[in-house]
Amino acid sequence: MKRSLILGVLVAALMLQGMSAVPSGIGGITVDSGCMCHGSADTDVIVDVSGLPIIYNGSETYNLTISFSGGPVETGENFGGFNLRATQGEFILLDDSVQFWDDSVQELTHTESGNNQREWVVQWQAPLDDTDEVTFSILVNSVNGDGTKEGDSWNSKDYTVDGLNSDGGSIIDYTNLSWWLIIATIVGLVVISVVLIMKNPNVNKAVIKHWLTTTNHKDIGMLYLWITILFTIIGLALSLLIRIQLIVPENDFMTGGLFNEAVTMHGAVMVLFAISPMSFAFANFIIPIQIGAKDMAFPRLNAMSVWLILLGGLVAASGFFLGGAADAGWTFYSPLTSMTYSPGLGVSLAGAGLVLLILSVSFSTINFLVTILRWRCPGMGIMQMPMYSWNILFTVILMLAVFPALLSAVLMLVGDRVFGTMFFDPSIDGTTWWLHIFWFFGHPEVYVVLLPGLGMAMEVIPTFVRRPLYGRKIIIWSLVVASIISVLVWAHHMFITGINPTFRKFETIGTELVSVPFGLIYLSLLATFYKSKPDWSKLPLVFVVGAIGIFLVGGITGVYLSSVAMDVNLRGSYYIVAHFHYTLGAVAVMTLGGIYYWYPKMFGKMLNQKLGWWHFWLTFFGINLTWIPLFGLTDMPRRIYLYQESAGWEVSHLIASIGGFVVFAAQLIFLYNFWVSMKKGEDAGNNPWNGSTLEWATTSPPPVNNFEQTPTFPFPMEE
């Protein structure tokens, strides 16, 4: 009420002043609405306030010079005016050319004697409390001095200055479009799911109870699949926000804090809650059937795993609604994650989510180990086991080896944040300690993500080229070697943190040697094509071949990064981001191939071919379109939300953003196909692909106990 009264008075005062055409401020009116007394807004008038810090220190004094250039040429007297407001701090006048417009707000204007100039100097004293963002609004009037408002023009500008300890942007900003996009995505997903479920006449209490209490491995595989699809959509939506922000230079779509939340949660959700557990979706469904078992060894533990993943992911993502999600990067480098620098709930919630995830993973690990080692059907020795099961075996062994490291790291982090335990205190070099323990987990995690995808490729290729996999034993031994090397080379993520030079050389060689086993695996996959009969009309094969094409680019660019000298320049740049998106993108495409391969077994229906081809080409070109241009940005730091046009990065980012949208659109086509084909797809039959492993010997979908009677291996064939 009081505000609007003041506003009214000021408007009146302004009108009066406008009549006399003396340049003046526009007190009380928001700068955006401009000053009607001096012609029209004109972008030729360049406003400048120099001397503003990027970050202010509490109660420090800064000299500000307000000036402008452009606009009409001055002819007589009175040719310039300004109006400056600050949301906090205090102005100090230095000469008589400047006065307070109104003492009750921090708002300045020029005086009568100050309107013959186009530059004014004042001091601004920052507030004592340096936790808030301060916004400066400046408006200038460029006046020709002829005494009328004809030919005059004005322009305005806002400056935002952060306090040293400000937390600007990490609190949810409801005025920001990007935040509404997140809300719309989530609400839309929930509404669509609820409507689809409720419209289904088969849904009743018993069905819901069945899905909530099921312990059957096939149902749990389905639950894993739906949950990871949900997290994938969240991860992709976050990546779209990043791509929108970077589509043009100096975009104001997001704030720095919100952007950091988006990159952090995109990474964490995609790596830990989407791609990695998606392999468990298929592992749960396929492995017991593939090895001829009735179920997993510990069905109830299995059910616990899947619900813990859901809970963990939701807890980690809930930060978006509780004052800001984690924003310290998915690698959670200390001490940015400490209470001092990340006071919000976000990092703690992410930590809690990770603990739940690790529990889930640990339970699954034990479950799969026991299942694979003890529950194979009679006659199936471990060397006769299908390759997908082999890959999952190595995956869970690696998980068992490295997830405890993450658990201890996260528990120490949470301890630091909640109980003040000071494990990662900088004075005892907690930063290095975190790096070691995190990357001891983080590097093998890459292989944890990769191996299930490779396993799918090893099933798909022999099936569709009609020849057995080349070098089964070579591949198995390569996996052994790769797993061992993978836990020894974590320090290549810390090449320039000042670790011992000799150790760096050891790690360089170690990292390069990773390409030996993977080179052998890769060449074995290719060699399978020798004198074979590939059927290129089958989508699983097409996806897998596309994926190994992408993977080679990821692999070769990875060799560059293994070099400690190359890493000096490439570390932290977009090159490295492009590299790991090429490897993980390849894994994602392999996984899609796996979905096309096993969908008929899971649902008894075939996916639509035509939509499938659209999905493939759009995904394939989209991924290349997104990431090839970004390889070139070896000088652009990752995780920055603004870049200047002068940097010359805008074309790459524009192309990349278009590619990002193409990939997202392709996945929407896929989801539609996935949903529609469940009902309307062609009947698959037991063995649509002429597969040779045991899952193709049972019905689609398989009965509760997988087989009518326990199979023996080799499986008796009825001709």
Partner: protein, 244 residues
């Protein structure tokens, strides 16, 4: 049959496409300057050329394998529920292993000769050490004679041309990474443990200094400037206690 062939050709077409794009990486590089950039750019060129050779060989092998496709179903095809067929030759595997390992060891040697250059500054008589401290979100510079200022006031980090200068980098609050992209130099700024790097600038001018480790909300804005000055100008500035 012709339809299948068309589709296989279409899939093959992705491979040259990838190759072409991959080749472009080289020409995206921003121009470098200074002693480190010479070493680094040469190293990058070596890696890039070898990477291209490997890519061409692997894609070539793949395309060749495609041409060996047969019309009849191969006779070793696995039938449902049968024992897995073992094939493959240990000889070939060992040969490939030895070839790849040898190739990689040669690569390491190339890397090690470069990293030795990065690690061991070739100091001269007039070399000195600047202490660089990363703060949220600016850099603080401290010279041996006591001149101290920050990038927050808009002042560049000043060094003389053709003189090796050592940077002793540390994080004042959180983990930063001090980098001069055009000189191909990057030193992680960890809190409480100093880390060193060095520069030999060969051209006068101003260059951006950027932070390469996420350090908070305004990580993006943590941009400083390096001014490589003429030796005499630098001496005047330096002995004048930091006054222009």
């Amino acid at each position: 049959m012709s339809k299948t062939k068309n589709i296989s050709l279409a899939i093959l077409s992705i491979i040259p496409l990838l190759l072409t794009f991959f080749a472009i990486i080289k020409w995206f590089q921003s121009p470098g300057t200074g002693a480190h950039a010479e070493v680094y750019d040469e190293l990058f060129l070596t890696y890039w050329s070898l990477g291209m050779v490997v890519a061409v060989i692997v894609y070539g092998v793949f395309i060749w394998l495609m041409t060996t496709a047969v019309e009849e179903e191969p006779d070793d095809v696995r039938i449902l529920g049968s024992l897995p067929v073992e094939r493959g030759s240990a000889k070939i595997a060992w040969t490939v292993t030895i070839v790849i390992t040898a190739f990689l060891l040669i690569l390491s040697q190339i890397t090690f000769s470069s990293i030795d250059f990065f690690e061991n500054p070739e100091l001269e008589e007039d070399s000195f050490t600047v202490k660089v401290t990363g703060w949220q979100y600016y850099w603080e510079y401290e010279y041996p004679n006591g001149i101290t200022y920050t990038s927050a006031v808009g002042e560049p980090l000043r060094i003389p041309v053709d003189t090796p200068v050592v940077f002793e980098v540390i994080g004042g609050d959180v983990f930063h990474s001090f980098a001069l992209p055009e000189h191909r130099i990057k030193v992680d700024a960890l809190p409480s443990r100093p880390n060193t790097g060095w520069i030999l600038a060969e051209e006068t001018g101003t260059y951006p200094i950027r932070c390469y480790e996420l350090c908070g909300d305004d990580h993006t804005l943590m941009i400083g400037e390096l001014e490589v000055m003429d030796k005499n100008e630098f001496d005047a500035w330096y002995s004048g206690g930091g006054q222009q």
